[in-house]
């Protein structure tokens, strides 16, 4: 289910004195199977952008194609359920949205809302618990007795239970320990390998470099560039000009360049850096 933006603008409270531009004149295409990162400073329009991808927000101008559906400023708020089943959204700190008295019921809420029977929904919910690596016996516990990391997984399982074709993640690992972080990112990478399109808002350039095939850069409500992580992190002038960060491997390689090393293309992940240094300094199979 590809997503296309054509000249999309969103102005908050457009008729009032407090009008504020959320996004301005955005054109983009997200293809099936993409793992796209959206980066940019706080307040640059990242969240506003993704909220258009499942019609939580409608554009003030322009048109968004989500699969077969076209969303325009005049679109009615009807018949959006099907769309929202296909495009799942995990907000920042999603554990704040847990509300049921057991984990199982909480995960079942989505599938039941989308028309599944109780039995079907429970079977799906148990499958999702396994998918997000939570123990099966957690199902009957209250979600509020779990640790922060576990609550996060329950919330994500709830979104995955609708089996979305596109999954939007707004800083899904903020505040998690490194192990939980890696496990969640691997879960998303696995879903992506199985065909789910992933759209990730992130401040962590290591993740952008390691997992994403494309990166969109937002600045002052505008999409200023759409490129690959490799191209982005090799464009030092652009990085500095727009106050962006590079992965540690790239920063390390840049320091080596200042000391006389040469790289054809700057590495963006640690394994790439190791490989290139092995070639230059001689190692096993060097």
């Amino acid at each position: 289910m590809p997503i296309t933006f054509e000249n999309v603008t969103h102005i908050y409270q457009s008729s009032g004195p407090l009008a504020a531009t959320g996004i301005k004149n955005v054109n983009l295409t997200i293809n099936d199977g993409d793992f796209v990162a959206i980066i940019g400073q706080t307040g640059s329009g990242k969240s506003t952008l993704v909220q258009h991808m499942n019609a939580l927000l409608k554009p003030t101008a322009g048109v968004i194609h989500i699969g077969e559906r076209a969303i325009t400023p005049d679109s009615k708020n009807k018949h959006l359920k099907k769309l929202r089943q296909k495009v799942g959204m995990v907000f920042q700190f999603p554990e704040a949205q847990l509300f049921e008295d057991t984990v199982l019921k909480d995960i079942c809420f989505g599938p039941q809302n989308f028309g599944a029977s109780v039995t079907q929904a429970q079977a799906t919910a148990r499958e999702m618990l396994d998918l997000v690596k939570l123990p099966a016996d957690i199902a009957e516990q209250s979600p509020f007795d779990l640790s922060g990391g576990q609550m996060r997984r329950v919330a994500i399982a709830g979104v995955l239970a609708a089996r979305p074709q596109v999954l939007i993640l707004d800083e899904p690992t903020a505040g998690l320990d490194p192990q939980a972080h890696t496990e969640l990112m691997e879960l998303f990478a696995n879903l992506n390998r199985q065909g789910t399109t992933i759209i990730l808002i992130s401040h962590q350039m290591e993740d952008v470099a390691q997992y994403c095939n494309r990166v969109l850069i937002m600045e002052n409500a505008q999409l200023i560039r759409s490129t690959t992580p490799q191209m982005l992190f090799n464009d030092q002038d652009f990085i500095i000009q727009h106050n962006l960060q590079v992965p540690e491997a790239t920063a390390f390689a840049q320091e080596l360049v200042q000391q006389g090393f040469q790289f054809e293309s700057l590495p963006i992940t640690e394994p790439q850096l190791v490989q290139q240094l092995r070639r230059q300094l001689g190692g096993i199979n060097g």
């Binding site: 307040g43 320990d177 092995r278």
Partner: protein
């Protein structure tokens, strides 16, 4: 240096919980240190912060702050020595303007108005937020909000500041900004900082690292001591720092770098020497 915090065999179990959140925790922190408290989600880090501030009553053991045992009688007095900065600055705003918010703690202490105004001004200056004194906290960015929260804490001139994942909701620029401010303040005001964090960038600049696992302190040490052995780090809630991971992987790939702990500039120097020998 004299210890400012001493925990001896401290245990705490939440109501109805099957396992203690903290079990026989003993810890000594020298004054003016930056201590990083690390561990997996649920290992007891935040509980530790809360018992230090007397927000949770301990079951057994003793806590001393500045050599004085913490009791229910002196709790309020002891608490004045400790400031806390939490993860989400939105959760701790009370004032309608930045200035009012910073003044809140001082008003509670009954400080005379003139002195209070001076102190608020001073605190905002420390975090470079003087220009925002009359703004509503809600209109600020995440990093700016966290700076106001810090001003509110330092206005009370505590000897200890506990940061509970205070930078985890900020973007990278905001995070660096807050860390730099806290480092400056620590130097200038001679504060002791306990920081609960998952951020490797922050952990590697701490004086002491304390690792919690399932409610127990399983290791304490300097950055060099903790990261000289990279095995089992993820189970402890840590990541190998980039430099050490790179060094280990280069060795595994047959690049002849030494095994000894290196910081970034030392590793770069060694790689340059290797290159010249090629």
């Amino acid at each position: 240096m004299d210890p400012i915090i001493e925990l001896d065999q401290v245990s705490y179990t939440y109501e109805n919980a099957a396992h203690p959140a903290l079990q026989q925790v003993s810890l000594t922190v020298a004054a003016h240190q930056w201590v990083a408290i690390v561990g997996l989600n649920g290992s007891g880090k935040s509980t530790l912060a809360q018992i230090l501030d007397g927000l949770l009553p301990i079951d057994t053991g003793t806590i001393k702050i500045g050599g004085q045992p913490l009791t229910t009688d002196n709790l309020w007095q002891m608490r004045q020595q400790i400031g806390m900065i939490f993860q989400n600055p939105d959760h701790q705003f009370v004032g309608a303007t930045v200035e009012d918010d910073v003044a809140f703690g001082l008003e509670n202490q009954g400080m005379p108005r003139d002195q209070m105004q001076q102190r608020v001004h001073w605190a905002l200056e420390q975090v470079k937020m003087t220009a925002f004194a009359h703004k509503a906290p809600q209109t600020l960015s995440g990093g700016q909000k966290q700076r106001v929260a810090i001003a509110g804490v330092i206005a009370l001139q505590p000897r200890i500041i506990i940061m509970d994942e205070s930078t985890s909701m900020l973007d990278p620029t905001g995070r660096e900004d807050i860390l730099r401010i806290m480092q400056d303040l620590q130097q200038q005001l001679q504060i002791t900082i306990l920081s609960i964090t998952h951020s490797m960038a922050e952990i590697v600049q701490a004086d002491q690292i304390v690792i919690l696992q399932a409610g127990q302190i399983i290791k304490t040490g300097t950055v060099e001591q903790i990261f000289s052995n990279l095995r089992n780090l993820t189970e402890l809630g840590l990541q190998p720092p980039f430099t050490q991971q790179l060094q280990a992987d280069l060795r595994a790939a047959g690049v002849p770098v030494t095994a000894q702990y290196h910081n970034k500039s030392r590793l770069i120097r060694e790689l340059c020497q290797l290159r010249l020998k090629m």
